[in-house]
């Protein structure tokens, strides 16, 4: 039973909402969110600040969604839902980025194929495998490579390499701009992208 005395459950966009428990199952066109809802119901999915306010409220505000179901619980469930949707979108972006990312060509750099270098472990797939989805504690989701400086040289070019701009091409392919997101976040990492 919820605090307001409601009992039972209802369906919302293919997902089950139980009064007093929130969303308990969820499969919709963005994917299966049952796991997130279980986390939410267990009280782990919604970090709070020292005053007990829900930190992920900012995520909801960002996308302009407030009343997902009803009352406070609706907002919390909505933010978990949006967070999961953002991460699903980020994985889509990551997969596209990986699809255009190069592996090393047919010439080993300097002949030291087995040594670990500034390029990483010096495996041909180092750059491609370094493209990952990152989620910050405040719910910020972005995609990019932390393999510096190689990722930066591939993205912007260097004395020895032309500018390939893989990240910029991903951004263009997903119709992303610097205006829609927070510009400072876009350039925070060498080749990161704010997808959703």
């Amino acid at each position: 039973m919820a605090r307001d005395g409601n009992t039972g459950s209802y369906e919302y966009q293919g997902m089950t909402y139980e009064y007093g428990r929130g969303f308990t199952s969820g499969v919709n066109r963005y994917g299966d969110f049952s796991e997130q809802f279980a986390e939410f119901s267990a009280g782990r999915g919604t970090p709070r600040d020292s005053r007990g306010r829900f930190a992920s409220r900012a995520v909801v505000d960002d996308v302009g969604v407030f009343a997902f179901a009803e009352g406070l619980e609706g907002i919390i469930a909505g933010s978990a839902f949006i967070q999961a949707a953002k991460e699903a979108k980020a994985r889509e972006v990551r997969d596209f980025w990986i699809s255009i990312a190069p592996v090393r060509g047919d010439k080993p750099p300097g002949g030291h194929v087995s040594d670990e270098t500034a390029y990483g472990t010096n495996w041909p797939e180092d750059y491609r495998n370094s493209i990952e989805v990152h989620t910050d504690a405040d719910g910020f989701v972005y995609v990019g490579s932390d393999l510096l400086p190689l990722a930066e040289w591939l993205e912007y070019g260097s004395r020895h390499n032309p500018e390939h701009g893989y990240g910029a091409r991903v951004l263009a392919a997903f119709n992303g701009t610097g205006e829609a997101a927070q510009p400072s976040r876009i350039t925070r990492r060498s080749a990161s992208l704010f997808p959703a």
């Binding site: 510096l148 912007y156 070019g157 500018e163 701009g165 263009a172 205006e179 510009p183 350039t187």
Partner: protein, 131 residues
């Protein structure tokens, strides 16, 4: 079809303000040097949506920052209005849309003697525009 060259446009525009602008950079460039590079971009035969990088090089980090700031001052959406047109080798072109993808920021150039700030812009040009 008359396809405008976005690199030519940016070089021509920046040359109004800066002496050393080009798409080729000598190994020891005069500084500050502005290197213009168009990235792989789509065109639908009506609009060419080009992503362009402009690299501002200088011999010190501060010099590159100053050059990047000067670049940012002239590469902005308020400058590029549809009223503004440029005479290129392909004819006269105007800019349909101008977006800043990345403001100039420092990025490693793998060269201890050159410091680089890179800004990125998305510039939409009308493909068959000529008059």
């Amino acid at each position: 079809m008359i396809a405008p060259d976005v690199e030519e446009l940016v070089v021509k525009y920046l040359s109004q303000f800066f002496p050393n602008v080009g798409i080729d950079m000598p190994s020891v460039p005069p500084t500050p040097f502005y290197l213009v590079t168009a990235l792989a971009s789509p065109s639908d035969w009506i609009t060419q949506v080009s992503t362009v990088s402009v690299h501002a090089f200088a011999t010190t980090h501060t010099g590159a920052a100053v050059a990047g700031r000067a670049l940012h001052k002239v590469m902005n959406p308020w400058v590029f209005t549809p009223k503004l047109s440029f005479s290129l080798t392909s004819g006269t072109v105007g800019i349909d849309r101008f977006e800043i993808s990345e403001v100039p920021a420092w990025h490693s150039y793998e060269d201890p003697n050159l410091f680089r700030y890179c800004g990125r812009y998305r510039i939409s040009l009308r493909v068959n525009q000529s008059s």
